[in-house]
């Protein structure tokens, strides 16, 4: 079968990694198999440059993770709502972080659509094969709420839209049935908005946070 070497490479890297972990921390995998007790649910972007556990140097077991295009939380999306239900309802995870990032393709497309511009200038480099979102596609539907935010706030630059997006998705999370129910039942649960800067590798707390008592003024 004519796969390129990528598949073989990933599997080989995994084998080596597993060996290193077992040597460094014998019994790690056996313990891992007993269960998971993550304290954080990460709602982030599918972007390959933002792997939550690598950029926070976290071992398996630390971060429960949902990644989609432009880190969205749509009201009627069974996909994310089932993640929330499991994370909050079953695993009782106390912290949800919604993490946006700079140079987000989804944000760029939404901005370009709202400004009636071709998105070309946001994708000057590598790997972007189709510079437009097909009309009537799932991707167009998916980016519609974000495009609406861009239209409603036309003065925002692309990067400012990215930040506004994080705030909007945090609001989406706190309005979900799952979160409302958790707070009604006095569950310890906080939702935060963060931003990852690709150019520096730094995560930043945006100072957007909500807890059982409402919006939190300061987060650090």
């Amino acid at each position: 079968m004519l796969h390129d070497h990528i598949i073989a490479q990933l599997l080989a890297q995994n084998k080596e990694w597993a060996q290193v972990v077992e040597n460094t921390d014998p019994g790690f995998f056996e313990r891992s198999a007993q269960g998971q007790e993550p304290k954080v649910l990460w709602i982030g972007c599918s972007d390959s440059r933002v792997p939550e556990s690598v950029i926070t140097a976290s071992m398996p077991g630390v971060i429960f993770t949902h990644r989609n295009i432009a880190n969205q939380c749509h009201h009627a999306d069974d996909n994310i709502n089932s993640v929330l239900e499991y994370a909050v309802g079953t695993l009782k995870i106390p912290h949800i972080v919604v993490v946006g990032h700079s140079k987000c393709g989804g944000v760029a497309h939404a901005w370009a659509t709202a400004h009636d511009e071709h998105p070309h200038r946001f994708f000057a480099n590598w790997g972007d094969l189709i510079p437009f979102v097909k009309a009537g596609s799932a991707l167009e539907r998916w980016l519609a709420p974000l495009t609406a935010i861009a239209r409603a706030q036309p003065d925002l630059s692309v990067e400012e839209l990215g930040i506004a997006n994080v705030r909007a998705q945090v609001l989406g999370v706190i309005k979900s049935k799952v979160v409302k129910k958790a707070w009604e039942e006095d569950q310890e649960l906080w939702i935060h908005g963060w931003e990852y800067d690709l150019a520096t590798g730094h995560l930043r707390d945006l100072g957007i946070a909500f807890g059982p008592e409402g919006e939190v003024a300061e987060t650090v």
């Binding site: 990933l10 926070t56 971060i63 429960f64 972007d128 799932a138």
Partner: protein, 204 residues
């Protein structure tokens, strides 16, 4: 306390990691900021124990990712479809990998639910709806839990193969592949189920 040390330590770890990377490879982040060209889309479980880039020792930029409950790819799910579309058509990944895993809470719940007959009415909450196909799979095939984890991967691979995105890519002559893997948490090891589908495997 609302701002647990957990979050503070993630941020501190990140700062240290960024500094270490910058020291070892001074241009790395600058390059990242220019764009992405991952060759792989990983569709896996949200389970905290299966972070794709850690278990494959991959770097930022290597793997485009969608993680949800029990690594599903439903053909009517805009979230997963948007990811597949963006990954294949906009970013140019050449391999789409569905990765299931042992000790999957979602699969276990479905396996347990399948021991009883199907309820009279459809589930009315997101998680129940989300896992309904998997529960049906377990019930219809009378599958054991391990079998269910594997069959689940095979079914999701079939869904991706059937998707308009993949059909479109293959029609254009693109060499894109779909694979099915299982991650064994007990050993930290990935296993290829050898169910890969490429352009030449699909009828013209």
């Amino acid at each position: 306390m609302f701002y647990d040390h957990v979050l503070a330590s993630l941020l501190a770890n990140n700062k240290q990691w960024a500094a270490d990377v910058h020291k070892a490879e001074p241009g790395f982040f600058e390059q990242c900021a220019k764009g992405q060209a991952p060759k792989v889309l990983w569709i896996g479980c949200a389970d905290s124990r299966v972070p794709e880039s850690v278990v494959t020792a991959s770097r930022p930029g290597d793997i485009f990712v969608h993680r949800n409950i029990a690594n599903q790819f439903h053909l009517d799910d805009d979230s997963a479809l948007a990811v597949l579309t963006y990954a294949v058509e906009h970013v140019g990944v050449t391999h789409v990998i569905i990765v299931g895993h042992s000790q999957c809470g979602g699969a276990a719940a479905c396996h347990a639910a399948a021991q009883s007959p199907a309820p009279a009415s459809a589930p009315d909450a997101p998680l129940g709806r989300w896992l309904e196909p998997l529960t049906n799979l377990a019930r219809d095939g009378n599958l054991g839990l391990e079998e269910l984890v594997e069959e689940n991967v095979r079914v999701q691979v079939r869904h991706i193969v059937e998707s308009a995105v993949m059909r479109g890519a293959w029609e254009k002559g693109r060499d894109v592949w779909v694979h099915g893997w299982v991650y064994e948490i007990e050993k930290g090891m990935l296993r290829d189920l050898d169910v890969s589908v490429g352009r030449e495997d699909v009828a013209a």
